[in-house]
């Protein structure tokens, strides 16, 4: 936008001066150039996705003969057999259950802790907050092997809870770091009024503060859910029986197990992308806002 007025000025002044005459031409070139760049971005991001989805409609023989071709004829068989198999749905259900538990725990416990850290004054409060904030610096992948050993000692291997609990714990830092300033910004007069009316602090928390914090709660829920949904390493270490596998683990396993049946891998991969992409389309404002907000709250 700003390019137009800057370059139009000198251009209008005198097309006869060659040095200046170059400018309007470049200004006009910027617009097609940006559309060209936009087209390139679209191609680079979307073609791989489309290739997988469309590949699922082909047979392995077709895929081998011409990897970049279109289906001829279109085959529904790959998608049908994946959708009819128990594996895909089982993986999907496991992912959903684990993500739901992890999100519920992280947001529930995180909101309680954030409330305490935001609206009570007590000795050591900033110390507790710092402890949680430092958790942001703990890379989950690095901790995965130690967590595995802990779960092993506790006899919690191969259980959905064994994955959900650590994931909830690792979601606590960003939950608290996002929620505390939000809860703190809610005017103290509201709390005074509630307490004059005889409400306890806990009642104020449940009845007034939580409903008012809904936007922030939604944001952290989406972040926690997506993080858990996409996790691979911890489930990979903890689960040994196929019936416990999550979707990311299932995709990777399917790919290595059925390496001969390429078309089926295409279909399985395409189907595994759908929940994430669909969820993203529904919650994109929350995801984008949450990530920017998280970055903002780390930096200030």
């Amino acid at each position: 936008m700003s390019a137009a007025p800057v370059t139009a000025g000198p251009g209008a002044a005198g097309p006869s001066v060659p040095a200046r005459a170059v400018r309007p031409r470049r200004a006009r070139a910027v617009v097609p150039l940006s559309y060209l760049a936009a087209l390139a971005i679209l191609a680079i991001t979307l073609v791989p996705l489309l290739f997988i989805v469309i590949g699922g409609f082909r047979t392995t023989a077709q895929l081998n003969a011409a990897p970049a071709g279109l289906p001829h004829p279109w085959v529904l068989h790959n998608y049908q057999s994946i959708l009819a198999s128990a594996t895909f749905w089982q993986n999907l259900a496991n992912s959903a259950v684990i993500a739901a538990i992890a999100t519920g725990l992280a947001v529930g416990l995180g909101a309680m802790a954030a409330f305490a850290l935001a609206r009570y004054s007590f000795r050591g409060r900033e110390g507790w907050y710092t402890l949680f904030a430092i958790g942001l610096l703990f890379p989950a992948n690095v901790a995965s092997l130690p967590i595995y050993l802990l779960l092993k000692q506790a006899g919690m291997l191969d259980s959905l809870l064994g994955v959900a609990l650590p994931e909830a714990a690792f979601a606590l830092p960003f939950t608290i770091v996002i929620l505390r300033p939000f809860m703190r910004a809610i005017p103290g007069e509201l709390q005074d009024a509630a307490m004059v009316d005889g409400a306890t602090r806990l009642r104020f928390f449940v009845r007034i503060l939580l409903p008012l914090s809904r936007p922030a709660l939604m944001t952290v829920s989406v972040l926690a859910f997506v993080t858990s949904w996409n996790a691979y390493l911890l489930p990979f270490l903890v689960f040994t029986s196929q019936s416990k596998f999550t979707l990311p683990l299932g995709v990777a396993t399917f790919q290595s197990t059925y390496s001969q049946d390429t078309a089926a891998i295409f279909a399985f991969t395409a189907l595994s992308m759908l929940p994430a992409l669909g969820f993203f389309l529904l919650a994109q404002r929350r995801i984008v806002g949450g990530l920017s907000g998280l970055a903002g709250s780390i930096k200030g």
Binding site: S2, P67, A113, F132
Partner: protein, 333 residues
């Protein structure tokens, strides 16, 4: 905004809150005070204890016990009896494969800064101007970021198969001479993986930078334009410096991500061929989990933890400190 003011306010209220224990606050009714204090204490315990317990149990405790396990030669079964002191730690640090893995992590991190950052900035500037289909473009660019790394890895495995999609397209474009065994050639496998990582994460950088751009008042650019600055000058002298905090936080997240890179590498190459694409975390899983050397694996985990933690603290201290105080800069730096 509230965050800016929260730090001093917090210090004030914390100090005020500390007073009740030695002497009763005069404004409160005397009889109710002990009751109220114990009630507040109970409420705080109720609110904080569950989160603290979960956090300590699954975030802090594992790395502490790993530091202990690392002192033993331990296959994961039976008691910890074979105490070897810092032997494991020394072994990890002197293993050329581990050093190679660390180098690979660093290469990915440096490439991210050199390649992803300029592309992200350029695309963010492009997407920041109103254009037809801009919303759709933003969605499309961000789509790969929401896929799991596992799905991304399988997707690119399929695309990069020898004689597969990429090879066929390149041949059709007359670039057949450039075709390589993308994942099997030790000299290029790391760069192939970097390309996949870039495909997946570039949208995140763009979204972050777009949010940063939106925070720059349009008046600044307009004023510069009126003063006769060219579009390039405005971008160079006004937009980019004001994006500084966003760029620094992106770099931080990008480097931390590079240091713990695992899923994509593991699924696509298992760190191979011949460790040419191993990362520190694939090294840990390969040499600790896979080979049932849990003492050794624990030592790797602790070293990894120290590497990323020290980096994070140094970065907070030196790169982020000049930005406004936030959760980490206020607390840690």
């Amino acid at each position: 905004m509230s965050r800016l003011t929260s730090a001093p306010a917090a210090a004030g209220t914390a100090a005020a809150g500390a007073t009740p224990s030695p002497g009763p606050a005069p404004r409160r009714p005397r009889l109710a005070l002990p009751l109220r204090l114990s009630r507040k204490h109970a409420e705080l315990t109720l609110l904080l204890a569950p989160a603290v317990a979960l956090f300590v149990l699954f975030v802090l405790l594992p790395i502490c016990i790993a530091a202990y396990y690392g002192l033993f030669n331990w296959s994961g079964y039976g008691p910890l009896s074979d105490f070897t002191g810092v032997h494991n730690y020394r072994l990890v640090l002197s293993d050329p494969v581990f050093r190679g893995s660390l180098l690979h992590n660093v290469i990915i991190a440096v490439l991210s800064l050199l390649v992803q950052l300029p592309i992200s900035i350029a695309l963010a500037l492009l997407l920041n101007r109103p254009m037809r289909g801009g919303t759709f473009l933003r969605l499309a660019v961000f789509a790969p970021y929401v896929l799991s790394e596992a799905t991304t890895a399988v997707l690119w495995l399929l695309i990069l198969q020898p004689g597969g999609f990429v090879d066929q397209v390149m041949r059709a474009a007359g670039l057949g001479g450039l075709i390589h065994p993308w994942l099997a050639d030790p000299s290029i496998v790391l760069y192939t993986l970097f390309a996949v990582v870039t495909w997946k994460y570039i949208g995140f950088g763009i979204i972050l930078l777009l949010a940063g751009l939106q925070g720059i008042p349009a008046e600044l650019r307009e004023a510069a334009a009126i003063d006769g600055a060219s579009a390039w000058q405005t971008t160079r002298r006004i937009t980019l410096p004001l994006l500084g905090p966003t760029i620094r936080i992106w770099a931080f997240l990008s480097i931390i991500g590079s240091l713990q890179l695992f899923d994509i590498v593991w699924i696509m190459t298992i760190g191979g061929p011949a460790n040419a694409s191993s990362t520190m975390v694939t090294y840990m899983i390969q040499n600790g989990f896979r080979s049932l050397e849990f003492g050794y694996g624990s030592a790797v985990a602790v070293i990894l933890f120290v590497v990323s933690f020290v980096f994070a603290l140094l970065y907070q201290r030196f790169a982020l400190r000049r930005d406004t105080a936030g959760a980490l800069t206020g607390a840690v730096g």
